[in-house]
Amino acid sequence: MQSITSTRLGEIYVRSESDIVRVRERVRQIARDMNFDPTTQIKITTAVSELTRNIFEYAKQGAISLAVAERGARDTGLMITSRDDGPGIEPDSLQSILRGNYRSESGLGVGLTGTRRLMDEFDITTAPGEGTRIRVVKWLPPQRASEVRSRIGELQAGFGADTNESAVEELQQQNKDLISVLAELEEKREQLERLNEELQKSNAGLNEANTKLREVAQMKEEFLALTTHDLRSPLTVISGVINFFTSGRLGALSPEQSKMVAMMERNTGSLIELVNDLLDASKLESGTLRLDLVSTDLHILISELGENVLPLAREKALTFKESLSSELPQVRADRTKLRRIFVNLLSNAVKFTPRGGTVEVSAEQESDWVRVSVRDTGIGIAAEDLPRLFDKYEQARTRSSRSEKGTGLGLYITRQLVELHGGTITVESELGKGSTFSFTLPIVGNSERGTRNDE
């Protein structure tokens, strides 16, 4: 019955026994109006009588609705739908009823099977506790079909005019339906309110947790700033004292003593570097780091740095190369911070490049920027580590360098500093082949573009 469309004529509620007669009369009338032949009129009426009786008997109330059915271009007929909210029918019983094996206690059990035989189409939807819906259709002979199709409006009007007597009942039913719908709505509204309340509660909880988290983060930053500051002061003193020894002002040291002092100097140096890292990170975090931007010549800066790096490189037998383009413009940068950027990248390169490798610094102009690259032939970085490489405290996890010292702050600080200058930093790397870090710096004359030193 899939392709059948229907045009509703009307509905009759079934709530008392006398409604059975009323439905019969009404259906008989419609069948007559639709020009069914007398025998068919009687068949339809009888079938509806059975359906209506079933409603009354099993569900006490329900409805019969009538509609003009159309299928394809020609088939036209009367569709009758019976529905109730009664107990429904068990699938097993339904099978037995439809096979004609069923004998009801009250009747001869011919209702459903009989109806099916009397009508052309029969369709039942039912389940225990879900009521029953039966749809039947009787088709008109083809020669009458088109005539009826042209009169659907008239049939509807005719049905409407006849329903006055049951209007009150229908209104009552509709009122009842409305009330139950309202009750349902009310229940839903209450549910919503409850949900809302719970949401608000959990929201409040979340807010509280959020505030606490923020407080904790704040405390952490403050603690970091304080401790690093307090750590630096004694370190400065120690480093000063060491200077006294190395400068020879306290007299000549024995070779053994010199060796010890050199060890102290190295370790104090790296401690100071660590503390500086922490201090910078904390300043970057709190947004209190300020840049002192001046015109800077990269040739000079890098050759200065080269002097610091060369001894280290020599120690590991690394080749250190500089390839700066000769017409490199001056960049706008904070020299101290820029030096720090270089030191971080170069010391990383040296640290992670095995003996005999190469570390190369290059720089060239790219429109309003200078791109600086630091390339090494070191151990490289795994692809899965690249995205988080510049995060705080992130030292690549899989690197064989876990034993290498470092706070994991170096690259984080480097990126922050580059970005403070208005530039960007990127990395390309392949495990075992080496890494290339490259960053951009604004050239002089583009202060309005690059250097937001108030961030």
């Binding site: 026994e17 007669v21 009129q41 068949k43 009888t46 009786r53 009747g107 011919v110 099977t113 035989r117």
Partner: protein, 144 residues
């Protein structure tokens, strides 16, 4: 719509004639059944002739009622004949799968009376009654 007033029960000789002329609701049907049995007892009639020539629809309930009346009447020693069933109703009954168990059917009232008279000799003793017209028992025919 107090249905019980609408269906007359006529006594013709020793036969009760019940012309059903309107569509009945279930209450009316049950009441009619009861009234027929009461009249059988009261009049000692030997036959019941139910005329359904004007009835346009017999569904399973009405069909069952007719069977029941026949069965009950038989127990009260009366024979029941249903007359005047319209062809369309007959077709419908068959399609519906309803058998009117224990009910004899004939074409019209004449045939019905003849059947009852010929086979059981009932209706003869008071044959005069046919000349004298119908004896109305129970309620009057409602002209409306």
């Amino acid at each position: 719509m107090n249905g019980h007033g609408r269906i007359p029960i006529l006594k013709v000789g020793r036969v009760l004639v019940v012309p059903i002329q309107v569509d009945m609701d279930d209450q009316t049907v049950l009441l009619l059944q009861e009234r027929i049995l009461t009249e059988l007892e009261r009049t000692g009639a030997r036959g019941v002739l139910i005329d359904i020539s004007l009835l346009e629809m017999v569904d399973s309930f009405i069909g069952r009622m007719l069977s029941d009346i026949a069965a009950m009447a038989r127990i009260m020693d009366a024979r029941t004949v249903v007359v005047g069933m319209q062809p369309a109703v007959a077709i419908t009954l068959v399609e519906l799968g309803l058998e009117l168990k224990g009910v004899d059917t004939v074409l019209n009232v004449d045939e019905g009376i003849k059947l009852l008279r010929d086979e059981f000799g009932i209706g003869e003793e008071e044959g005069d009654a046919f000349q004298g017209g119908l004896n109305l028992v129970g309620e009057q025919i409602n002209p409306a």
